[in-house]
Amino acid sequence: MTNGELQELYLARYAQALRPLAERLENHLRELFATKPHIDRISARPKSPERFIQKASKLEAGSLRYSDPINQIQDQIGARIVAFYTSDRDALAAVVKDYFAPIEEKQIIPDTPDRFGYEGKHFVLFLPADIVTADIPAQHVPTFFELQIQTLFQHAWGEANHDLAYKPFLDLTSDQQRKVAFTAAQAWGADLIFQELAADLLQTVVA
């Protein structure tokens, strides 16, 4: 399949399936987590055609990383739950496993203890059958979606870092790298202190 054909296929999928499914998934998640405390926001969105083609074109050891991107890229729909405290992250992850069928669960942390960076809980989950109705063309319905659970501070850091520093073509100076690491450390520290405060001040952090 050429890049043009892949783009055309994904555009059809994006319009006919991913957009309506992302909207339904967001509503489904909101209903499921309606009674859970300390959730700042829940969102779901389809991967944009530009981002999809960018990802599909990634190389690994000189060859294309994905031989069948339309079936292999599992985050064509991405959902996110942003919670107040780090302890909420684990409690919400348990709820996710109660209601969804995962094929992957990852705790994202920096590679070594002396580094600071993004932290979060990521899942690859089967798209729930409740939202996949017959009006959506079956050939365009992805099997999986990605769900991220992160704290407010990790969410804020991740968004700004993605906008400013997470560019494959950009070489950051060592000073810029230190600034990025500094903000990550600040977010990590804020999470730590708020978690300690929550443990002290709230009788129950997550019911």
């Binding site: 079936n71 109660d98 992957e104 059958a129 409740d130």
Partner: protein, 339 residues
């Protein structure tokens, strides 16, 4: 789609002398009576295997599953040797209770689509009578398979994209003398390292919300049936069922069944199997209520309503009932609004 590869293996229980060796197997020719018999099993698997299952991720949360790895390896290279790895896995999960079995691995490939049917037939007993000119030889045989071709276990996987399609499949267990929702643990959990595709809480939530919402929308007679079904659900807590089997086992009328199904977000989910979770059920359908034309209202926890209020039909034509209950008053209050 026709069978393009067909292998068979004699699978012994693992805790027997024969169960320690490599599982013996043979490739079956794609013609003849046996082939036609198995081709029928292969063809009807689309209709017979109705319970959706999914492979479980590894305990470290990675996208890997030992049974799926063997399925993918066999699909990529459908040799007798590759199939033996699956047969050996079944042997390691087979106990004396499950007994000797004959495993068939059937693959069909057409236009980029692949279909794999994994089917196990149990060994049965029989008597062989061989007639000679003047004698009759009677022999007891312990290794008869497919005596009853409707008694078997099967799993079906199909698709055109190994990365996406082969994480889930469908199973059936025709050996159990129960409803099609019941399936031997060793087949789905141990051998296939899988679970129902619908989690216990997700399926229970779907059913209990549909029941609750149907009691708001359905006609009165259907409402009464649905409230009774909610009250009787506790008898099924912890059991595997589908929404359709739940409704049928409780003998709900067509009208009441239609009222419940209409409240499902996706009616296609009525056949999906899950284990009924008590906590989730009670959370979503906590109270059953009956309101009479006299203005009287009775309210009780849904799983205790029928036991709390005795219902007596007084007049079939006017549908008049007498409800009665006996208890000690522990609270009494006025409410500002109708509940």
């Amino acid at each position: 789609m026709h069978i393009t590869t067909l292998h068979s293996y004699l699978v012994h229980p693992h805790n027997t002398p024969a169960g320690t060796a490599d599982t013996p197997g043979a490739t079956i020719p794609l013609s003849g009576t046996l082939f036609h018999m198995l081709n029928a099993v292969f063809d009807k698997s689309d209709k017979e295997c109705t319970i959706p299952i999914r492979f479980l991720m590894s305990s470290e949360g990675e996208q890997s599953n030992p049974a799926r790895d063997l399925v993918l390896a066999f699909l990529a290279s459908p040799t007798l040797k590759a199939g033996r790895s699956l047969a050996n896995r079944l042997r390691d999960c087979t106990t004396m209770k499950s007994g000797l079995g004959l495993l068939f691995l059937m693959i069909g490939k057409e236009n980029g689509m692949a279909k794999l049917v994994v089917s196990r037939f149990p060994a049965e007993e029989g008597i062989l009578a061989e007639e000679a000119k003047t004698t009759l030889k009677i022999e007891f045989i312990e290794r008869i398979f497919m005596k009853n071709a409707a008694s078997y276990k099967a799993a079906l996987y199909q698709g055109d994209a190994p990365d996406a399609d082969f994480w889930s499949g469908f199973v059936v267990d025709r050996q159990l003398n129960q409803s099609s929702d019941q399936i031997a643990n060793y087949w789905i959990t141990d051998f296939l390292a899988s679970d129902f595709k619908t989690t216990s809480k997700a399926g229970t939530r779907r059913l209990s919300i549909a029941l609750r919402e149907a009691t708001h929308a359905a006609p009165l007679a259907a409402k009464q049936e649905i409230v009774a079904a909610i009250a009787l659900a506790k008898g099924m807590f912890g059991k595997s069922l589908s929404i359709v089997s739940f409704l049928q086992q409780l003998s709900l009328s067509d009208e009441a069944q239609a009222a419940v199904i209409a409240r499902l977000p996706n009616p296609d989910t009525i056949g999906e199997t899950f284990i009924l979770d008590p906590e989730e059920f009670i959370e979503n359908a906590p109270l059953a209520m009956v309101e009479l034309d006299t203005g009287g209202i009775m309210l009780a926890p849904s799983d205790k309503f029928e036991a709390t209020f005795e219902r007596e039909l007084l007049d079939q034509v006017t549908h008049k009932f007498r409800f009665s209950t006996v208890g000690r008053v522990i609270d009494e209050r006025l409410r500002g609004r109708r509940p």
